[in-house]
Symmetry: C2
Subunit: 472 residues, 2 copies
């Protein structure tokens, strides 16, 4: 082991391994919660098994960041509606002193905060392995698997890996992140046997890397690639039909690979605890905009009333629809990015080489081979007022030189968002907000008005630098 | 037969079928030339068969445009060097009173003009069918085939087809045109049996249409497509390994298809005799440039000393290299075109959406997967003075936002052409001219200086309209 790395590990472990006192506190709280939920279930005549799941049960949580997941396992023949109503009522009752908030992933659950711990009370079905009825039914099997197979000595390796991923923004399977889940970390450590070996392997990962811890497929890659098409395939030890890394997006995967390489070549504590990013000032924003001479178009809109995963899904779809529109109309998009405080401030930013396009453009028509389409292309464009030259034949297609309808990105967006923008692909919830004019189109400069949001200010600083933190 | 078409045919035929007097004159001249060449060959002790080939021999020439092709068929064991020197000397001697000019296709030949007839004296090898030693050896077999198989009644159909193709700029297999040869017209008419049926068929041609007049392949399309990959495949009746349409470029093919459709839907004499295009005035040029707001970059350079096919090949390669360079550097090319008077005026024009580019651009790097390339991308761009943001990871690649080196098309071209431009793909003969600074970079406006060339003036007028003549 590299002595630098050994020293870094020790420093990090001091901060992330829970103390005896924290453990006792968390387990006592967990026990109390189990009792409360069980008792509430009994009172509601709900036949349920209540258990502690997740990283607390697996002893892989990071000190100070315990998520206590209490599962309420109900009979498999309970209807989905009952699961949602009865269980939720039981859960709320059990923690009614702690301001329970209803949340939603695949189905609803209840969340609250007690001290520095987040508490989730999650209903699921008590099913046999593989007979999943809801997305959370696998969790108890995951907990059981990790408790049984992850050696005590590897738990701190999992903690180190999680800390490194959190620091680089690659941790978390939620839509906002699209990164590595806790179960994925545990599976990787079980497979590679240490954080260092995981990083060494990751630094050489290829598109389509397969990790089959339980050897469910006996090395039959053809079958594996028939089933999974994600860039990283980690067969779920308790369910051969599932990829534990299914949520990992391309960018997050390759960011992690890049972090692994960077850490191994120049190890440092900063990979676990990066220097905090300062927010940006109005003056710094103005200077950055002058230096790049690009045009940053901002779409600011009000809060989306929906669970946080839905919020991010709506925001990402909106971002994509706007980028696609601008590209289709001839603008050169350099990059786009979205910010949300998950409350009432959502901002989609698209950076363009230029906000204005030249007056005329080449407009490609159908292949000459297709007689009817050619006829209609000719009758549309031949002699039309906005045809500057042509139509002519280029290789095997008709082409015409046309005057553009939209020379300005703001004008194009204003017109396309009129009425909500459903027709350009803006998803329902955001389209509703836009339809009711709870949005603004901002220039790069005008984004400066929103710097009072500390989160946005840091986001914008990071956006403008464009570098991932570990390359700083 | 459509009565309109009948009337048009009659009018055109009156102009293109040679009169009895013209025939007699051309055949007498041909006979005399054969005698002169034969006698010159005898005097040089060259064992050669002298014959009349081509459209005069086949009786498919257009009145007033006779090309008299006299072939000098020599022994197959004569060396290529001897073919070129001895035969050329004989040919020159035979017509020494008529200012013979040496030309070059696959090998050298001699050309002159007598009255309104072009006379070519072309050496070739006297070989058995299929045992071709030079590109012209097939011609006597073509002549023989057409004389034998093309019914007298179809000769005027060939003439009509040629006239229509000449009018639309699709006639001629030379590099400048990349269109339909005389032999191809004769093969099409033999196959389709009239100009009207040829046009009807052509209006429905698909990419990869096959015409196998002699049924050499018995309908085995797999074998045909293994051998030929051109968009139109017309199996040579005298050589199953050759495509008579090999020289037909995509644009010429589809232009002809489009002419065929236009003629059939609205027949008119103009398809055979289009109104002559006027040249453009300086004022008209200025107005056209203002209307489109594009930037037309002109490269003017001096005469290329080479056979005309080589001249055009050099010009087209130069055009392509400049277009590729501009595209690679981020400019949006709408169209490019080249003019040559085949003497001392060559002009390559490239029309750009805009002559100036925005200051920064997105620069795509390697996939993160490739560790070494990623390392070198990062060490080049991370913290570099011309890096405005990034590198960041987009999907699976590194990307950086960079300041462009060249914001202006003229600056880019000036620098890239310094020393000749071989490294951007400018071919040898043009690179030599450019290296010796016998070139100018012109703006669209400055092209107005060259309008004293009537040819260029008409070319520019046609370029700016962008429409093929038959769509006017």
């Amino acid at each position: 082991l590299n002595p630098d790395i050994f020293e870094i590990r020790e420093k990090v472990l001091k901060r992330i391994v829970p103390s005896k006192a924290e453990r006792e506190r968390i387990y006592a709280l967990s026990e109390e919660l189990i009792q409360r939920v069980s008792s509430a279930a009994r009172k509601a005549s709900l036949n349920a098994e209540v258990s502690l799941e997740g990283s607390v049960a697996k002893d892989t949580w990071l000190s100070g960041e315990a998520d206590i997941d209490i599962f309420l396992k109900v009979d498999a023949n309970l209807s989905k509606a009952d699961l949602e109503t009865t269980c939720l009522a039981v859960a709320k009752k059990a923690i009614k002193g702690y301001r329970p908030v209803e949340r939603f992933a695949d189905h609803p659950y209840v969340e609250t905060f007690i001290g520095d711990s987040r508490v989730n009370i999650v209903p699921c079905y008590n099913v046999e392995m593989g007979m999943w009825k809801s997305a959370t039914d696998r969790t108890p099997y995951h907990t059981e698997y990790v408790k049984k197979h992850l050696e005590a000595s590897l738990k701190d390796e999992v903690r180190l890996l999680k800390r490194l991923m959190k620091a680089s923004g690659t941790y978390g399977a939620e839509i906002r992140v699209g990164g590595f889940s806790g179960m994925l970390c545990e599976t990787l450590i079980s497979y590679y046997r240490s954080v260092e070996k995981t990083l060494q392997a990751a630094s050489r990962w290829r598109e389509g890397t397969v990790i089959d811890l339980e050897n469910h497929f006996g090395g039959d890659y053809e079958e594996i690639y028939d089933l999974f098409d994600q860039p990283l395939i980690v067969i779920d030890p308790v369910d051969k039909a599932r990829n534990v890394a299914a949520a990992v997006r391309h960018d997050r995967l390759w960011e992690f690979v890049s972090v692994a390489r960077a850490f191994l070549s120049r190890p440092g504590l900063r990979f676990f605890y990066p220097p905090e990013r300062r927010g940006i000032s109005r003056g710094e924003l103005a200077r950055a905009l002058v230096r790049r001479e690009t045009s940053i178009v901002g779409l600011q809109f009000g809060g989306i009333e929906a669970p946080v995963d839905v919020v991010w899904s709506q925001i990402f779809k909106t971002e994509k629809s706007i980028v696609n529109l601008l590209r289709a109309k001839g603008f050169t998009v350099i990059r786009s990015s979205s910010f949300s405080d998950e409350d009432d401030l959502n901002i989609i930013m698209v950076e363009l080489e230029s906000q204005a396009l030249p007056k005329t453009m080449k407009h490609a028509g159908p292949p000459v081979e297709r007689a009817n389409e050619s006829d209609s292309f000719l009758s549309t464009h031949l002699g039309a007022l906005d045809t500057v030259a042509g139509p002519w034949i280029e290789k095997d297609r008709w082409v015409a030189q046309k005057i553009r309808k939209h020379l300005d990105a703001y004008g194009l967006l204003k017109e396309s968002l009129r009425g909500g923008g459903r027709n350009i692909g803006v998803p329902g919830l955001v389209a509703e907000i836009i339809k009711h004019e709870r949005f603004k189109l901002l220039t790069g400069r005008q984004l400066g008005r929103l710097l009072s949001s500390e989160g946005f200010s840091k986001f914008l600083s990071s956006y403008l630098s464009g570098k991932p933190e570990w390359l700083r």
